[in-house]
Symmetry: C2
DNA sequence: ATTTTATGACACCTTTTGGTTTCATGTCAA
DNA sequence: TTGACATGAAACCAAAAGGTGTCATAAAAT
């Protein structure tokens, strides 16, 4: 499935639900592959391959302890994601500003703001 | 390629580099499919399918204007990503705390902190 | 020394992805 | 009305993803 090192980036790595679960699991504690596999409804081999992909992305680190390999989370690569996401902050700000405007001008009633966000930017006919 | 509505989530949507470029592009301004395609080295149809996936994830909205469809960014679903990411803040804090400890104990010199983060948690032999 | 356990490497299979080209349809312009 | 343009849908394809089972090997336990 995976061949050359670091063929997977953070974005790909977190795209899979199983791998996101793995990250959650490994944040709490270091665990061996077999123990980790116990938490998933798939084969140990499959889990192992997910771990490999996460490792390629730098999101987990494996450490050999006798005959077992223990994996743990390394959150550092998530910073890239955080930075990528930061770019879009300004758009949220815009949305909030527009929402505020609409609310103040009485075009929106007191409906739950979060649900209203999607409708804030009007689909203006041209 | 895609059949049922909303078969793609945000994590999958942003996993592809082309789609991330699309988001960047559509943040600045609303654009028609043909114009968008001009920015990419692939066929218009291919771009159109990426747009579809982004739309399924709610990240872009399409609006028909005469014979063309103009797409624009909708950053709202990125909030889910932001929340997911927020969970890992505490790990960064831990890392920073550990880094601070190491620096103060003189085990790390004044080397660039960002580059040192990966080495902060020592691979302790058991 | 022998056996069991933990893991990674392989070979293999099916589905999904990302891309292509072609075609049908709706809209705009002459 | 006729023709050009914009787009989405469909059929097709190669490669990657996600899974399986088997096997080889190293370490532990008996």
């Amino acid at each position: 499935m995976a061949a050359s090192p670091s063929r997977h980036d953070v974005f790909q790595a977190i795209a899979d639900p199983t791998r996101r679960q793995l990250l959650r699991l490994l944040g709490d504690q270091e665990m061996s592959v077999t123990v980790i596999s116990g938490h998933f409804p798939m084969s140990r081999t499959a889990v192992s391959k997910h771990l490999r992909i996460l490792a390629e992305a730098g999101l987990v680190k494996g450490r050999k302890v006798g005959r077992e390999t223990r994996y743990r989370l390394d959150p550092e690569p998530l910073l890239e994601l955080k930075q990528w996401l930061a770019y879009y902050e300004r758009f949220w700000e815009n949305k909030m500003a527009m929402l505020k405007h609409y609310v103040e001008s009485g075009k929106l009633d007191g409906a739950e703001p979060a649900a209203s966000l999607k409708a804030v930017q009007p689909t203006k006919k041209e």
